[in-house]
């Protein structure tokens, strides 16, 4: 079990990630008042965010039990084919802390929805970034311990996506106990603070992360982020 306290620099997402996720162009084409909002939101993020994470290594057999969850996963999913080939697995949970979520809500309540929305966008990108940063640390440790070589790649996979049912959070929480870093799970399997992320870090050669997105749930997917994720491990 490893508890990680990220620096604010490590937790802050790069600007293109924030802009892309909102369908906004890069700064050179951004209207001045939106650029100013983005700067304000990033300043606020730096002041309010409390980034931290928890990871715990586990075997493929242990993860199979966690993944099985409450038996509600899709009949077929990419992760069930990927994790048995992994050279390292770790559950993770990361959060940006309650004060950030509270601040976003307060901005809407105080009639500043534009800044509230932009801070939410920064925070959402930062939560994804924390998952990636947790993966980066996991990989560095595995390399240091000579469990994988430097060509290995780590990707995070989370309940609620790509056939892993959201109810899988319960088993994940039983194993990892993210309450220790201030993340709670409600009866709907929703994490609090809201700007939190959890899942499994899968380490292995880049090819193990590749799959054809032709599962039953792919037709309903709005983002097709899997394509970008797969491209990222090949590109690195």
């Amino acid at each position: 079990m490893e508890r990680i306290h990220f620096t604010i620099e490590e937790a802050t997402p790069v600007e293109p990630a924030v802009l892309e996720s909102q369908g906004l162009p890069d700064r050179s084409q951004l209207p001045g008042r939106i650029a100013a909002l983005l700067d304000d939101a990033r300043d606020l993020f730096v002041r309010v965010a409390e980034p931290r994470a928890l990871t715990a290594d586990l075997s493929a057999a242990q993860f199979a039990d966690v993944y099985g969850g409450e038996g509600l996963n899709s009949p077929e999913s990419p992760l069930e084919s990927i994790f048995p080939k992994a050279e390292g697995l770790a559950l993770f949970a990361a959060t940006l802390g309650e004060p950030l979520s509270a601040r976003i809500g307060a901005l809407f309540a105080e009639n500043d929805p534009a800044l509230g929305y932009m801070l939410d966008a920064v925070a959402s990108a930062a939560a994804d970034h924390l998952a990636d940063q947790s993966g980066r640390r996991f990989l560095e440790r595995l390399v240091r311990e000579q469990k994988v070589d430097r060509t290995a790649r780590v990707l995070p996979y989370s309940p609620g996506y790509c056939g892993w049912h959201i109810s899988g959070q319960r088993r994940l929480f039983e194993f990892l106990q993210p309450e220790r870093i201030g993340i709670a799970l409600n009866s709907s399997c929703l994490m609090q603070p809201l700007k939190s992320v959890s899942g499994v870090l899968v380490a292995g050669g880049a090819p193990i992360h590749k799959f054809r997105p032709r599962y039953s749930f792919c037709a309903d997917c709005r983002t097709h982020e899997c394509l970008q994720r797969m491209a990222s491990v090949v590109r690195e």
């Binding site: 939106i34 534009a114 609090q192 309903d220």
Partner: protein, 210 residues
């Protein structure tokens, strides 16, 4: 220039203080509050909404305009109440039981206000009975529900069933939205409409009760 046009244009640019000042000026000039609301503020937000629909501007710019509109509304609200003028058709919105996400729901509320609706925002984790009780108490003809999680979607059906059970279907329409749901799901549970995003929500609400 016509002061109402100035209000609308200032609102389009998201200028907080000028919108408030121009609205106060229009009141001082003796223009009826209802006229200032409809031909100044709502007209301005209508243009903003249309430009957003046409992808000429970005969502944060809509939100800056919405903030400016709220400033103008603060000037008008007491006058509208004093003159017993309706603040707009009431709509009840909230994130359903178990769901604490509220950004999408907040955006819908802001866009509806901009379109002239009076929004009663029940917040997050709203019990089914509260949606229906509030719609009845406030005489609101529409309930809007948001869900981001598949685990909270069933609560939407509970609300629709409750509207049915209380024989309110002819008086109270239901609309759903959020990442977890779809038009197909809306049909399955008997909701009157589904909206993919906040701009569509305004369109659909106008069709249902506008």
């Amino acid at each position: 220039m016509d002061i109402l046009k100035q209000i609308a244009e200032s609102l389009e640019r998201g200028e907080d203080d000028p919108v408030r000042e121009l609205t106060s000026q229009a009141v001082a000039d003796g223009i009826a509050p209802g006229t200032i609301l409809n031909d100044g503020l709502i007209r301005g937000m209508g243009i903003v909404g249309e430009r957003f629909r046409l992808r000429e501007i970005f969502l944060p710019e809509v939100l800056l305009a919405a903030r400016a509109m709220t400033g103008g509304m603060e000037v008008l609200k007491l006058l509208l109440v004093r003159d017993k003028l309706p603040l707009g058709t009431k709509v009840v919105i909230g994130s359903v039981r178990g769901d604490l996400h509220d950004i999408g729901k907040n955006l819908v509320g802001i866009m509806l206000k901009g379109a002239g609706f009076e929004v009663i925002d029940l917040g997050t984790d709203v019990q089914p009975e509260r949606f229906v009780d509030t719609a009845v108490a406030e005489n609101a003809p529409l309930i809007g529900m948001s869900a981001l999680l598949t685990t909270t979607m069933p609560a939407m059906k509970e609300v629709v069933d409750l509207v049915e059970a209380r024989q309110l279907r002819s008086k109270v329409k239901t609309i759903i939205g959020g990442a977890a749901v779809s038009a197909e799901f809306a049909g399955q549970i008997g909701a009157d409409a589904y909206a993919f995003d906040a701009a569509k929500a305004v369109e659909r609400v106008k069709q249902l009760v506008g």
